[in-house]
């Protein structure tokens, strides 16, 4: 479903990703961990081309992502951001219906029905007519997930979805993500929520030094890592 080949990203002289390759099968949930600055977010952002790769190619469902087809391919890849990025000028319901309506994928009635079903699913149906600024962080992130799902994506990219949340709100967001994963969504999740990774992820990537240093089943990688640097990292986050 996702094929990454030789992905490299430089910012000027700074190398962020160096020759990264991996594939993700349909329905897999991949958890990505690693120290800050190891290129986790950049990797996700290269997949939907919010960042332009310096070299390498990315295939979605067999199709190479280019500047030309990226707007179409992004419809099949939802993204959830650390800082939610809900549209401040639109009510919750309009946040969700904006893209399906603008891209003429649905009529107004259908788009609203779909949006309400998604709001029910994330438990926020009663918030349909409020502006994002009145929501808590956890509510914002759940709306952001609903907004991404409204396009009917095959893939969901989560970029530190719970890092900006107060601790008591992390659970409600992880619950929604867990449901998605169980329902068979293909997911790439950059997050240090080890509990979620253990429960929901099929595979875990440990990123360091501009590449995927180690990968494996979460229960194995978390308890018995092969690489020294993975061990050190896990010790430091558990402290």
């Amino acid at each position: 479903m996702i094929e990454v080949n030789g992905l490299t990203k430089h910012y000027g002289d700074l190398v962020v990703l160096e020759d990264v390759s991996f594939t993700v099968e349909k329905g897999e949930t991949i958890s990505i961990i690693g120290p800050s600055g190891s290129g986790k977010s950049t990797l996700l952002r290269c997949i939907n081309r919010l960042e332009t790769p310096t070299a390498g190619e990315i295939k979605i469902n067999g199709e190479v992502v280019t500047e030309k087809n990226v707007n179409r391919l992004r419809r099949s890849m939802g993204m959830v951001f650390q800082h939610f990025n809900l549209f401040n000028n639109l009510k919750v319901i309009d946040n969700i219906t904006l893209a399906p309506l603008t891209l003429k994928m649905m009529g107004k009635a259908e788009a609203e029905k779909n949006a309400m079903a998604l709001l029910e699913r994330v438990g926020l149906a009663e918030k349909r007519d409020v502006y994002p600024s009145t929501l808590s962080g956890g509510q914002k992130q759940r709306v952001a997930i609903a907004r991404a799902l409204a396009m009917g994506p095959d893939i969901m990219l989560f970029d530190e979805p719970t890092s900006a949340l107060d601790p008591e709100m992390v659970g409600e967001v992880l619950d929604v993500m867990r449901q998605l994963s169980d329902a068979g969504m293909t997911m790439l999740v950059v997050s240090h929520e080890m509990g979620f990774a253990k429960a929901a992820a099929n595979r875990m990537f440990f990123m360091d030094d501009k590449k995927i240093l180690e990968e494996g089943e979460p229960s194995v990688l978390l308890t018995n890592p092969k690489e020294e640097r993975t061990k050190l990292f896990l010790q430091s986050v558990r402290r």
Binding site: L50, N85, T102
Partner: protein, 238 residues
């Protein structure tokens, strides 16, 4: 004694009022001048918004990587020259050099001159407004498959306009007051009309009234701004 002085003062005042505003229907001069000032400000404001929007979009597009170096250089030069020279000199050049041998209405020349001037300032206001919108807003829109233009039009610009509304209104208030120099190209705006009466009556009254009229318009615009801000703030409060 005091009563005599008082009544003399009042009758002098009434006499002055009569000579300045009633005699020969001189109040009509002021009304015509006011109409000219308002039209000129409105047209110049519209021209300024148009120019400002185009210039700011050129600069923002250029910065986000579009290959429009030539247009961007033009926009930068425009803003530098217009903001670096006095509006008084600009209006004189536009009237006596550019339109020297072209017979067009003074209203058009003045509106164009002030619009061209205001455009440079509006461009900087818009640019600051667009930059004030968090980059994550556009990224979220792009991540859903919206084009650059769609995310700009539906998400970034509405928020930018809201952020710059106070600065834009200040620009229009400045513009209204700046148009008072239109008399220099023989366009009879409010200021010129008041001064025309003064040269006949040598009284302080016409110019004081002119000042009062400007003040009332500015206060009215400020009032409108406050109401708009309150309405637009609804998306912040919910």
């Amino acid at each position: 004694m005091v009563g005599v002085y008082m009544s003399a003062w009042f009758s002098d005042l009434a006499d002055q009022f009569y000579r300045n505003f009633i005699f020969e229907d001189r109040y009509r001069w002021l009304l015509q001048g006011l109409a000219n000032t308002l039209q000129m400000t409105l047209f110049a404001g519209m021209i300024g918004i148009l120019i400002g929007l185009v210039l700011s979009l050129i600069r923002v597009l250029h910065k986000s990587g579009a290959k429009i170096g030539f247009l961007n250089a033009f926009a930068n030069a425009y803003i530098t020259v217009i903001r670096g020279t006095p509006v008084m000199v600009q209006i004189l050049i536009i009237n006596f050099v550019i339109f020297a041998s072209i017979p067009v209405s003074k209203l058009l020349v003045a509106s164009l001159a002030f619009g061209i001037n205001s455009g440079a300032y509006v461009a900087e206001i818009f640019r600051a407004g667009i930059n004030s919108v968090d980059a994550g807003q556009a990224e979220a829109a792009r991540s859903l498959g919206l084009s650059y233009g769609q995310s700009m039009r539906l998400i970034v610009l509405p928020q930018a306009v809201k952020n710059v509304l106070p600065a834009m209104f200040n620009e229009f208030i400045t513009l209204l007051k700046e148009t008072s120099i239109a008399g220099y190209i023989a366009f009879t705006d409010l200021t010129r009309a008041g001064n025309n009466i003064r040269t006949l009556t040598f009284s302080a009254m016409p110019l004081l009234l002119v000042a009062l009229i400007y003040l009332i318009i500015v206060m009215f615009m400020t009032f409108i701004l406050r109401r708009l801000e309150r309405r637009l703030a609804s998306s912040d409060r919910g």
